[in-house]
């Protein structure tokens, strides 16, 4: 029941449950058991029940979980019940892809700012939004009270940009930049360095031996 200090591993699974529930609801499934959720997600049924129990007792013994109700609760828990405002910083190949990606089509989040420092990119339009110069970041972040940022700038500029973001009120960063970020304790950084990801994958491609289960 207590919300104190939920393990990161649990938080990472919550959006997975949410996606499955969205699919089930679209197929008019009203009730789902942890067993079936287990088959859909690849996590064990016990783990799923434990994860959900972190936040309360949402199920009905002998029956299962009501899909719509559980979905509502998960939205609330993750913080997607109100539209989250995010910014994208760095409008290179990856920044462009993300700006056009499902993120923008996702009803839960709204991109309120896209920033770069290249004059050639400033004011180009994407998905109904204009690319702004990075100098305007503080103003826009404060105006929309945005808390979440996606960072795709070159490694050399990342820390400088992060300092600016944090100062402006950003508290959570999805970091694609190829460098470690230094942030105050109240700011959360999730590293999504795709080169690192790919390289560790290569380790497993080499092994012919033992079985590795999908993550």
């Amino acid at each position: 029941m207590s919300r104190r200090k939920t393990p990161k591993s649990v938080v990472k699974r919550l959006p997975v449950y949410l996606r499955i529930l969205d699919n089930l609801i679209r197929r008019d499934v009203d009730i789902i058991s942890s067993r079936v959720l287990s088959e859909e997600t690849g996590f064990t049924a016990e783990q799923i029940r434990k994860d959900l129990a972190y936040f309360g007792a949402f199920g009905t013994r002998g029956t299962g979980y009501n899909t719509s109700y559980l979905r509502e609760r998960l939205l609330r828990i993750i913080g997607l019940d109100k539209q989250t405002k995010i910014i994208i910083v760095g409008y290179g190949h990856l920044g462009k892809a993300l700006a056009r990606y499902n993120i923008t089509k996702n009803p839960y989040v709204r991109v309120v700012g896209i920033f770069d420092k290249d004059p050639a990119e400033i004011n180009t339009e994407v998905e109904g939004l204009r690319v702004s110069h990075i100098d305007q970041l503080p103003e826009i972040v404060r105006e929309y009270k945005a808390k979440v940022a996606i960072l795709t700038v070159p490694a050399e500029e990342a820390q400088k940009v992060v300092d600016l973001m944090v100062e402006s009120g950003i508290t959570a960063i999805l970091n694609f930049a190829h460098t470690k970020l230094h942030v105050p304790n109240h700011v959360y950084v999730d590293n999504a360095d795709l080169t690192i990801e790919l390289q560790s994958l290569i380790y497993y491609a080499e092994e012919d031996e033992k079985s590795h289960y999908a993550e």
Copy 2:
């Protein structure tokens, strides 16, 4: 020393060490202690020593690690000592970004095939390579003996494509598709669903309370 069953968490950190070493070598630093590596990476010094010790004793007591030697060893361990051949499957926004991304500029890997099923994209050129129809995937994977794939196709098509890839010899998949993949035990899947990543990030943006350390 024994290579048996290295924890996934260790494998994820190896490329981080590699990147730091590349930077150090570029700055003509010859020797590095686990303490300094700790500052650069954010991992503890003990953890770094343990990680490296999984694969042998690479350091010199009282001194530290030789950067060039350690780099060579890590390249070998990860499997980057010989150029790894990879394919990109799905040439949408994200696939395009990845094809143009540093991945291609990275000397350790070489993209040997890019696939899509949209006729409009077939034969367009990117970074000296032509986009092929997905039907040609088995042939090209076998020709180059590619083992690693980056998957960025829509969720509905992911499983079908995965079956084809696995059958053709792919053993490691970086999965950006918004769905769970079913693969045989010898195939390793690393899920990098960016929507999931972003949503779990939002959880932390909401919390005003306690400190969350960067991952």
